[in-house]
């Protein structure tokens, strides 16, 4: 038990086996390993820190309760993501009157971009505006389109991983993603035509996408 705590490199399978044997330390290691990813994913649905924390705690407690049902046929994180997405969408549908509020705390959203140090103030401003509009449009999409865009564009999951998280066919992932992007583009054209590709934003922000592609 102690060895597991001292060795954060233990595989997920080892940790799961230890948790099922009653090791609290192993569960702590598992939570530490995945809490950032769970928070990041929940943050795409809910921007409130307290709500996110409550949801994240619920997610990990559900993992703890249901761990014996995990089949180990897929990666643990896809199972965890499935629970997280379900928790987030359930939460949103319960609180549908309080629609997704994307920019409750501007200070939380305006951090972490590598481009900010080098970009001109105008480019920074446009990038911030583009980010705001993107979040706004994603939030307004139907749940299934929003989730698939979040998993692909923000979480960088592959089609296979998305299929595993959402328990759908690979072909469905591709077609749903295509429709989601189409809806996104139509919404952008309707509400912010000045940001639709072809404008000057292309030159200033396109490089970051290319950078992300290079990382994958």
């Amino acid at each position: 038990m102690f060895a597991l705590k001292r060795n954060p490199e233990s595989s997920d399978q080892d940790l799961i086996a230890a948790i099922l044997d009653g090791s609290e330390a192993a569960f702590g290691t598992l939570v530490d390993r995945y809490k950032d990813r769970v928070f990041r994913l929940l943050g795409r649905y809910c921007r409130d820190q307290v709500e996110c924390e409550d949801l994240a705690q619920d997610v990990f407690l559900k993992v703890f309760r249901k761990l014996h049902t995990f089949q180990q046929e897929s990666a643990f994180f896809t199972w965890l993501y499935r629970i997280t997405v379900n928790a987030a969408t359930d939460h949103l549908s319960r609180a549908s009157h309080r629609r997704l509020r994307l920019v409750e705390d501007e200070s939380m959203l305006d951090v972490g971009s590598d481009d900010h140090d080098t970009a001109t103030p105008a480019a920074q401003l446009m990038s911030t505006e583009l980010a705001r509009v993107t979040r706004e449009i994603v939030a307004s999409l139907p749940e299934k389109y929003r989730t698939i865009l979040i998993l692909r564009e923000f979480e960088d999951l592959s089609y296979t991983e998305i299929a595993s998280v959402l328990q759908i066919q690979l072909g469905t992932v591709e077609s749903r993603l295509f429709r989601a992007r189409k809806r996104f583009r139509e919404h952008l054209e309707r509400t912010h035509p000045e940001l639709v590709p072809g404008g000057e934003l292309a030159d200033k922000t396109g490089s970051s996408v290319a950078h992300r592609r290079g990382e994958r």
């Binding site: 939570v31 939380m108 583009l130 089609y159």
Partner: protein
């Protein structure tokens, strides 16, 4: 001019890094040869820049989050107890489903018995096979001819 649906899917696969190297090379060759495809790729790349810009930020776990989860997990019943609870819950769920199904069947039977389920169609000649109608007509003709039903209406009027 718009791309075909197949080309659109290929474009997204390419941008998402979902092509194997041979497919990617073939697609890059097409990009070099087809300006229309290249322009569409540039547009899509720009559109995706919004996601890249919105990538950062969001809530982060506070220090002590893990300890909080562990404390909450300690309050849960033991794993054996949870399994037992789950079995009981599954049994209750099954019973509930069976009861609901029985109630629905009972309701349908009651409605049927009370005559609420009779459709208009079954009361018309449409529902009866043609041969049965013909048989019935013959039987009625035979009855009329035999006089068992009394004189035909025309004869009665004549009298």
């Amino acid at each position: 001019m718009k791309l075909t649906h197949a080309d659109e899917l290929l474009l997204h696969r390419f941008l998402d890094g979902e092509m194997d190297s041979a497919q990617a090379v073939a697609f890059e060759a097409r990009l070099a040869a087809e300006p229309r495809l290249r322009r569409r790729l540039e547009d899509e790349t720009t559109l995706r820049a919004g996601f890249a810009a919105a990538h950062a930020g969001g809530p982060a776990p506070r220090a002590g989050f893990t300890a909080g989860v562990l404390a909450a997990a300690r309050c849960l019943p033991s794993r054996q107890q949870m399994k037992r609870d789950e079995v009981v819950a599954e049994f209750v769920r099954t019973c509930r489903r069976v009861l609901i199904a029985a109630a629905v069947l009972f309701g349908i039977s009651l409605a049927w018995y009370a005559g609420l389920m009779d459709s208009r169609r079954s009361a018309t000649l449409e529902a009866v096979p043609r041969w049965e109608i013909e048989k019935e007509m013959k039987r009625l003709d035979a009855l009329i001819e035999s006089g068992a039903l009394g004189a035909p209406p025309a004869e009665r009027r004549g009298k």
